[in-house]
Subunit: 354 residues, 2 copies
DNA sequence: TTGAAAGCGCTAACAG
DNA sequence: CTGTTAGCGCTTTCAA
């Protein structure tokens, strides 16, 4: 019955093709595909056969346009190759699995936040909900781009209360880490990857604040030279920063690294310099990524509450998505939630015993 | 003209809303949005103003349905938290950036390939092209699911010639790694994460084959007990496997690890056992992930040609996508390409000097 | 330079 | 139990 459109151009099989071949309406085919009731057993059977025969697959774009639903949750992370985000993504994907939704990860980039943001945010409507790991964007950026989709923010910095936001406790976490070193005898502690004197409320700044706080609380004086920038924050730059410090003749007996990844670079540098950890220099990281248990020495670090973060994010998102699909405008919902997850010190081998 | 549907339900701003407010047709608005010519300067101006005022954003789903284009490339990886895939994703995303396309990463899962496949492959039509890092799927799986989208396979195993395929040289890479240990004096080499006697042509099997090959070439006898399974392949299992081996009293003086991640676990176990690397046991990994330069000792490994893999994959995909948008059916195209990228030994500190 | 109209592939009332 | 119909929001001939 169905004449081929042309002999060379290929066209995907549509629901209409199936309907024609099975001698039923597209409605019926749709019901069969979606497992809906009110279809005769034999009709269903026949449709299924045709579907198999023609190799029909639903076009998710069309379905989405019509149904207003993608069953996909977007996750926006600054970089795709940072262990922390990979591990966060895995936790989220695992938690999402039972709900039948897929996690889809996109990179937002650390720099030029606005430009990249502009480019990627159009795409965000392809998701039922979006989780954004905020790094480069500042509050006004976020308010500007008016999202069409439920959004939950996860991350480092205080943000406008326009969005639900799960925050790790950067300040207290870093203070705990620093206090731990001070308690174990360090007196000249480098804040590796620290940031100073910015009005920015970004992650490095907040963690540096915690570093200051711990010193203040314990009455230990500070040396401004000990706050060392590390950009971008990766192993190589962590490594280089420690070497420069030593080359510059800066004396120190402890390192609070802004992230575990930076700490791992530092560990490697110290090893190369023949400086013993933790005997001569104690090191503490931040994030509690899986790698911390396998480096030598095993890295003492701050667990920002990784499991709890993932769970809370998803809980918020679930709520927003429910509101959204109920047709409530975002602004009409309850005041947005902001939760700070408590951080926890994980003592391993890179700091001394009590 | 248009009465609001209801006072409480919020609806996204559409192109129609803009058209009405700007007193032009949707056609004109569309042109303005897409930067097409044949629009008066003042008209354009007015439309732009209304767009800003109303906060209009295009609905990418609708655009995609109509235009048949998403400007997004999908990447399917087995796990989101494996450094190798994170680093691959980053390379691909970087290379894609200038083309204006976004990389979108999804997890396929290592296990239950078929089930997951069924669930996720419909979504793949949301992309203009798809890169699949094949692990769990076998050739017949792949032939079954008839893709509607250009696909390039990247990975470990021989696959049906139905798809373009960029393959790393697992066998020769592993042989090179093994030969390196043999040359440097190891005689009882563990194949950590090796797989044996399967008809499967998966990555562990292929690398194990290389391990055999090197022994054969150099006339060194093999001990079946030295092939140790590691599942799943991560740091923790690599660690545990080495401990079991030692507990079981298996004597060895070298380790070829199936991946760098497994090697890192092994390194940690050897350190705990007080076994010196490389003096007593030499270790070589596979993948050349960034971490290899920062562990202690730095890991000797095989670089499967990471940069070249990313470049080649994208080149193939570009070609397929061009064909596809030209309306050519996939099967009509030239015989599919299959390229094996040469692997290269990177000598660091976990193996002995010559 | 602008607009009318058709339709991408699908789902969901509503009839029958 | 099944089919008819009306769009989802957008792009794109084709006419004006």
């Amino acid at each position: 019955m169905s004449a081929r459109k042309s002999s060379s151009a290929s066209r995907a099989v549509t629901i209409g093709d199936v309907a024609r071949a099975a001698q039923v309406s597209t409605t019926t085919v749709s019901k069969v595909i979606n497992g809906l009731p009110r279809v005769g057993a034999q009709t269903r059977q026949r449709v299924l056969e045709v579907v198999a025969e023609l190799g029909y697959q639903v076009n998710p774009t069309a379905r989405n346009l019509r149904a207003g639903r993608t069953d996909a949750i977007g996750l926006l992370v600054p970089e795709l190759d940072r262990p922390y985000f990979g591990q966060l993504a895995t936790r989220l994907a695992n938690a999402l699995e039972p709900t039948g939704r897929q996690l889809v990860v996109q990179r937002s980039g650390v720099s030029r936040a606005e430009e990249l943001a502009a480019a990627s945010f159009a795409r965000l409507r392809m998701y039922d909900g979006v989780i954004i790991s905020v790094v480069g964007l500042n509050p006004s950026d976020l308010e500007q781009l008016n999202f069409q989709t439920p959004v939950v923010l996860v991350g480092e910095r205080p943000l406008p209360r326009t969005f639900d936001h799960v925050m790790m406790d950067n300040v207290e976490g870093a203070a705990t880490a620093t206090a731990h070193l001070l308690e174990r005898g360090s007196r000249h502690i480098v804040m590796l990857g620290g940031r100073d004197g910015t009005t920015e409320q970004d992650m490095p700044t907040l963690r540096t604040l915690g570093y200051y706080k711990a010193h203040a609380r314990m009455g230990v004086p500070l040396d401004a030279r000990l706050v060392a920038a590390v950009l971008p924050m990766d192993m190589a730059t962590g490594y280089a920063a420690v070497r420069s410090l030593v080359d510059a003749g800066v004396a120190f007996d402890g390192i609070v690294a802004v992230t575990d990844v930076v700490a791992i670079g530092a560990l490697r540098a110290l090893a190369d310099l023949g400086i013993r950890v933790p005997a001569e220099v104690q090191v503490v990281g931040f994030d509690n990524i899986d790698e911390t248990e396998f480096v030598t020495p095993r890295l003492t670090t701050i667990d920002p509450g990784n499991e709890q973060i993932a769970g809370t994010v998803l809980q918020f998102l679930e709520t927003r998505m429910a509101e959204h699909s109920a047709g409530l405008p975002r602004t009409a919902s309850e005041p947005t939630a902001e939760v700070t997850i408590p951080a926890r010190l994980v003592i391993r081998e890179s700091t001394r015993r009590a």
